[in-house]
């Protein structure tokens, strides 16, 4: 479940944890890779991805029950 952080790229700036509306990153500390404490509470708003200053340091994975049905 989302989000997924790339440890090697994350600078621990804390922006994702500060901006996340659902506080998925509850308990995170500045200068450390954020803790993904409540992944099931992600609303997929993309605030963390949009506001992260490092390209590709954070991404979201779509959970299987949320896959679109299409033809």
């Amino acid at each position: 479940m989302p989000p997924i952080i790339d440890d090697s790229k994350c600078t621990g700036c804390g922006v994702c944890a500060e901006h996340c509306p659902q506080d998925v990153f509850f308990g995170s500390e500045i200068k450390k890779t954020p803790v993904i404490a409540f992944p099931e509470e992600c609303w997929h708003c993309y605030a963390c991805v949009l506001d992260c200053p490092v390209p590709e340091a954070i991404r979201l994975r779509t959970p299987v029950p949320m896959m679109l049905s299409y033809r």
């Binding site: 509306p21 509850f26 404490a37 993309y46 506001d51 979201l60 949320m66 049905s69 299409y70």
Partner: protein, 551 residues
């Protein structure tokens, strides 16, 4: 386990704004511009909180340069729309009259309100009818409005959830709980503006057992409605249901951003309005018939697809641009993950769960039934433009009210702050008992089984009894392992209060009208024409009263 003691803190302002979405930020901006000392508290962070977190792309507006000098056709059309049909026409007129000023402000502040340098209206429009939704690029609306509020001296306090209004000697502020620290904050104020958004998480969402797959932000949980109700303010039209529709399984509002034709599995359009993708109209059939997707499934004719095949290259680029601005980033990313191409793949749509259309009774000045208490935005459903417009209006009025009164006494709120402190301390220190999820799921169950699409006297009676038992258990037994869970516990208590009001309102409205259906009263009762149903707190639970529409 360490014993949790809640620390106390005091803050003062002339105007306290609760909730930092477009309504709350506009209220704070206007109140501060009027010279008031303003504090705004947000459950999350105003930069990305609420249903408009990462964008919106439609803004109901009357633009003289586009519509011409006569505003009335636009007023009439908005009054018939999903955002206006339960509102008095005078309310819609004030909204449209003010909307252009708001559009100009937003454009000046850097929220692009024009498309390629011109006013562009598209979506939510029936061929031959007046255009009412201005297309705009709102991805950065929240950071921009936050910056404008700060520029005017608004004190923003993030990660604090207000739970109760202070009502000693009139509205005197609110008590909030910190979402990250064991702390209760008493906000003393001369006027309060409630802007906490909608009422998500009342009914079960599209995915069984999942709480957060929602068309609107799942952290908007009717906090304002519940607070206003507990303080004694009037709620209105709580029994009127509202449903959204959108892509199946990946719940997100923004239907009007899709440029396609809604078709059945044999490619036959399900509505009469469009036969090929057209960016100006989208497919408005689902504006007048939201239950369409569910009905097609129930009758075996479905599913219904949003079919963008045949879209022009220009319209495709247009749609993809605005999907970002409507905040549909998750869906766009999913297209990449799965290799979905809207030019080739029709996407199944569905009707999402219910919520209430009604909410806090606020008039065109943003005034509620209690002096000093104002409300705006989705405290009563209206969408982004109503939020921005009435937020602005309510902020100005609240500042005016604040100038005319003295600061609340130093002791105001002491009692309610102690009561809340005890409640949360118990939840934080209790060892065994239901989690917030347990109570929320129990609530979802009772909502969908007893006051879902099928509503009747006997169902309401049985459901109310069950709901009250859940509520009692929640107040007595809820367990919060940390501050994050504590906020969810408070949200669930708010949802339970809102639910009780909805049950009471449904019990009272014994008729079928527009989208409100009572299977045991399948006719319109003319006695309720031109009337609205008001609910307020009584000694034994919600009281109901019929009022003339313009009262």
């Amino acid at each position: 386990m360490t014993h949790i003691i809640m620390a106390g803190e005091q803050m003062e302002a002339d105007v306290l704004v609760i909730g930092g979405g477009p309504a709350g930020l506009m209220a704070a901006i206007h109140a501060a511009e009027s010279g008031a000392k303003v504090t705004l508290i947000d459950k999350a962070n105003t930069v990305r909180s609420g249903s408009g977190a990462t964008g919106n792309d439609h803004f109901r507006a009357y633009i003289p340069a586009f519509h011409g000098p006569d505003m009335e056709p636009v007023v009439k059309e908005v009054a018939k729309s999903q955002a206006g049909w339960t509102r008095p026409q005078s309310f819609v007129r004030t909204w449209m009259k003010t909307s252009f000023d708001i559009v100009k402000m937003w454009d000046d502040w850097g929220i692009p309100m024009k498309h390629e340098g011109r006013w562009e209206f598209s979506g939510h429009t029936f061929p031959g009818k007046p255009f009412t939704t201005l297309k705009y690029s709102g991805q950065s609306q929240k950071p921009i409005l936050t910056k404008e509020a700060k520029k005017r001296g608004v004190k923003i306090v993030n990660r604090v959830t207000a739970f109760d209004l202070i009502t000693d000697h009139g509205i005197s502020g609110a008590i909030g709980v910190h979402g990250r620290e064991d702390k209760i904050i008493t906000f003393s104020a001369k006027a309060v503006v409630l802007c906490t958004g909608g009422c998500v998480r009342l009914y079960p969402g599209p995915t069984p057992g999942w709480m957060f797959n929602r068309a609107d932000s799942p952290h908007t949980t009717g906090d304002g409605r519940a607070m206003a109700y507990r303080a004694g303010a009037d709620l209105l039209n709580m029994e009127i249901p509202m449903r959204w529709a959108g892509p199946k399984y990946f719940a997100k509002c923004g239907k009007a951003t899709w440029v396609g034709v809604l078709r059945d599995p044999r490619d036959k359009p399900v509505g009469p309005f469009v036969t090929k993708p057209d960016r100006i109209y989208g497919d408005p059939i689902s504006d007048s018939y939201k239950g369409l997707f569910e009905d097609y499934m129930k009758t075996g004719k479905g599913p219904v697809y949003m079919d963008c095949r045949g879209i022009s290259n220009e319209d495709y680029d247009y749609m993809m641009h605005y999907m970002k601005h409507e905040g549909l980033h998750g869906i766009l990313h999913h297209f990449d993950e799965e290799g979905i191409d809207l030019r080739e793949n029709p996407i199944e749509f569905m009707t999402y769960e219910m919520t209430t259309r009604g909410g806090i009774h606020y008039n065109e000045k943003g005034e509620t039934s209690m002096p000093g208490l104002y409300a705006a935005g989705d405290e009563y459903f209206g969408g982004i433009s109503a939020a921005a417009t009435f937020g602005w209006i309510a902020g100005g009025k609240a500042a005016g009210f604040a100038f005319g009164r003295d600061a609340p006494s130093k002791n105001a709120g002491k009692e309610s702050s102690e009561a809340l402190k005890n409640l949360v301390r118990e939840m934080r220190n209790r060892k065994d008992g239901p989690s917030w999820q347990e109570i929320n799921v129990a609530l979802n169950q009772v909502m969908s089984d007893y006051i879902g699409p099928t509503r009747s006297d006997t169902l309401v009676e049985a459901g109310t009894a069950h709901l009250l038992r859940i509520k009692e258990k929640a107040r007595k037994d809820l367990v919060a392992k940390n501050q994050h869970e504590l906020i969810h516990c408070l949200e669930v208590l708010n949802l339970l209060d809102v639910a009780e009001v909805i049950f009471a309102a449904i019990k009272e409205r014994k008729e079928t009208r527009e989208k409100y259906i009572r299977v045991d009263h399948p006719y319109k009762n003319p006695a309720f024409d031109e009337k609205v149903l008001v609910c307020r707190k009584g000694p034994e639970g919600p009281l109901t009263e019929w009022k003339a529409i313009n009262d």
